[in-house]
């Protein structure tokens, strides 16, 4: 990782400012009903991903590329599949949890097609599902294990439940609301307002589009010199020196 040049942050857009056809598909702020009869507001702030190349290069966490959350087939609306593409900012939180899962399993975690972000126009978006918030993931394979049997699905479900209370895990089963060929995890209906965004704006298209560039949080990506950190913590608590880069 000898990257020293400054990366520009991802562009964040307010979906109310997007062109009408996109806005109609993303339906920012709209209330949608979930399977249990609860209503939720759809997300409003999205990362704009300019190209396929960018989607492939941008890593949300060390082991998850942005493109992995955008894998869809023709069930997704054609415009949503075309670049520039948009994904709710909460994707970052989902990726953080998937990275924890990857650490716990020690093996690559593979998201299914249509198993990451799904727009409200996606054919599988029949009711409010956290997939529409980019806070749900369908994992179909961990390492070399294809998750098709009760045993493997329930084993990993248990592992995830032990890992965190924040993730909901769908039980194994064939009916609606259960899963038998993947593991579904979600964080519920989380919308985030990125720190760069100001909320004192009307919900409607503005004469001047509002957007911001997310600042890169990690110093090395902002071009800060990367020097060894002072020893604040006792070395034993941290293990090896590489433990800094957690």
């Amino acid at each position: 990782m000898a990257e020293t040049e400054t990366e520009s942050g991802l562009k964040i857009v307010d979906a109310f400012d997007l062109e009408p056809d996109l806005r109609a598909l993303l339906r920012p702020g709209e209330l949608v009903e979930g399977i249990g009869g609860q209503y939720h507001h759809l997300p409003r702030y999205f990362y704009e991903i300019p190209s396929h190349e960018a989607a492939r290069q941008i890593r949300v966490t060390p082991h998850f590329g942005l493109n992995e959350f955008l894998l869809v087939d023709l069930k997704e609306a054609a415009r949503i599949r075309a670049f520039p593409r948009y994904v709710p900012c909460a994707i970052r939180i989902l990726a953080f949890y998937l990275e924890r899962l990857r650490e716990a399993t020690g093996a690559p975690v593979h998201l299914a097609v249509n198993g990451g972000y799904r727009s409200p126009a996606h054919k599988l978006s029949v009711a409010a599902t956290p997939h529409m918030w980019a806070t749900a993931a369908d994992v179909y394979k961990i390492g070399t294990v294809v998750l098709r049997e009760r045993a493997s699905i329930e084993t990993y479900n248990r592992l995830i439940e032990d890992l965190t209370d924040d993730l909901y895990v769908m039980p194994y089963g064939h009916e609606i609301g259960k899963a038998d060929d993947h593991i579904h995890v979600d964080l519920g209906y989380v919308s985030i307002v990125p720190r760069e965004i100001s909320e004192d704006r009307l919900e409607g298209p503005q004469p001047r589009p509002r957007f911001a560039y997310e600042e890169r949080r990690r110093g090395d990506r902002r071009g800060w010199p990367r020097e060894p950190l002072p020893e604040v913590l006792p070395a034993a608590a941290h293990g090896s020196p590489s433990g800094h880069d957690k």
Binding site: L74, K75, V113
Partner: protein, 297 residues
């Protein structure tokens, strides 16, 4: 569609030879039927070169087996021509389907041997065009169900209705046991399949471009024990077979050097399960020989 030749001596000759051909065909088909102990037999045939049209029980309905995949192919190209689908669009290769009868999910009984390349794509995507190719050339049930999902059963029926193809009824995908037990089955008649393939042969199935693409896929058919087995090596056949337990079908467009193609549909049903049978190939051979005889060859 029948040609009405003028009353020249030539035309009289042609009519006499047609009548003779029809009689001899009828006799040999009856012989084949008896020899193979075929319970039900349906044949429809149209030759673009001589305009000879001939049929036997052509409106008798059979279990469609895999010949229903022709209707799925037609529906795919309908959506393509209408701009509702592009052929390179990705489709998630996932073995999970919903019964049209009770909306219950079901899976296909598949493995690498039966599905080959598609099985290797499980969890990933394949394009509409690739799936159409495997649905026809390898008779992939998996590809078929994925495409039935993409276009939807109602669109398949709409395509058949639009092109005035009677005699093909598609109600469900493959291995939908819930629907099967409820008596919802796909059916075909020889005339229905003949009509469909004639449109494809003549460039009238959603235009010449779509028809040409369908013919190209059909020409790559890998199962050749039906119609092609009764023909000379040089013949090229754009066709689709249908085989399960007691039925053995084949429906195709036959291209022979130096003449216009002919379209032939042979549907057979046996009283008990039969493995290999040469019945379809035998009918195919008789028809070829009959035509060859008419051409003075």
């Amino acid at each position: 569609m029948a040609k009405s030749p003028a009353q020249t001596p030539d035309a009289v000759d042609v009519r006499q030879s047609v009548a003779k051909a029809e009689q001899s065909l009828y006799a040999s088909v009856l012989a084949i039927r008896g020899r193979h102990e075929i319970e039900r037999l349906g044949i429809a045939f149209y030759d673009a070169e001589t305009t000879l049209q001939w049929s036997y029980n052509a409106d008798l309905a059979f279990h469609a087996a895999s010949t229903m995949k022709l209707a799925v192919l037609l529906a795919v190209f309908r959506q393509y021509t209408r701009g509702e689908l592009t052929l390179d669009e990705p489709v998630h290769v996932r073995n999970k389907f919903v019964s049209i009868y009770d909306r219950k999910p079901y899976m296909l009984d598949i493995n690498r041997d039966t599905e080959g390349e598609i099985y290797d794509h499980l969890g990933r995507t394949m394009s509409v065009k690739q799936l159409a190719y495997y649905m026809i050339t390898c008779s992939s049930n998996f590809a078929t169900n994925l495409l039935v999902d993409v276009v939807g059963v109602p669109v398949i029926q709409t395509a058949l209705d639009e092109l005035k193809i009677d005699g093909i009824r598609v109600l469900r995908g493959v291995e939908d046991h819930g629907a099967f037990e409820a008596g919802l089955n796909n059916e075909v008649t020889a005339n229905g399949l003949l009509k469909l393939l004639r449109l494809v042969a003549e460039g009238k199935a959603y235009g010449e471009e779509a028809s040409a693409q369908m013919r190209e896929i059909l020409l790559d058919q890998r199962y050749k024990s039906g119609i092609p087995a009764g023909l000379p090596q040089a013949a090229r056949v754009a066709h689709k077979t249908g085989n399960i337990s007691t039925v053995h079908h084949d429906a195709g467009i036959v291209y022979l050097e130096g003449r216009k193609p002919y379209v032939l549909v042979i549907l057979t049903q046996f009283s008990s399960e039969t493995g290999r049978t040469t019945a379809v190939a035998d009918v195919s051979r008789d028809i070829y020989e009959c035509l060859a005889g008419m051409n003075g060859g």
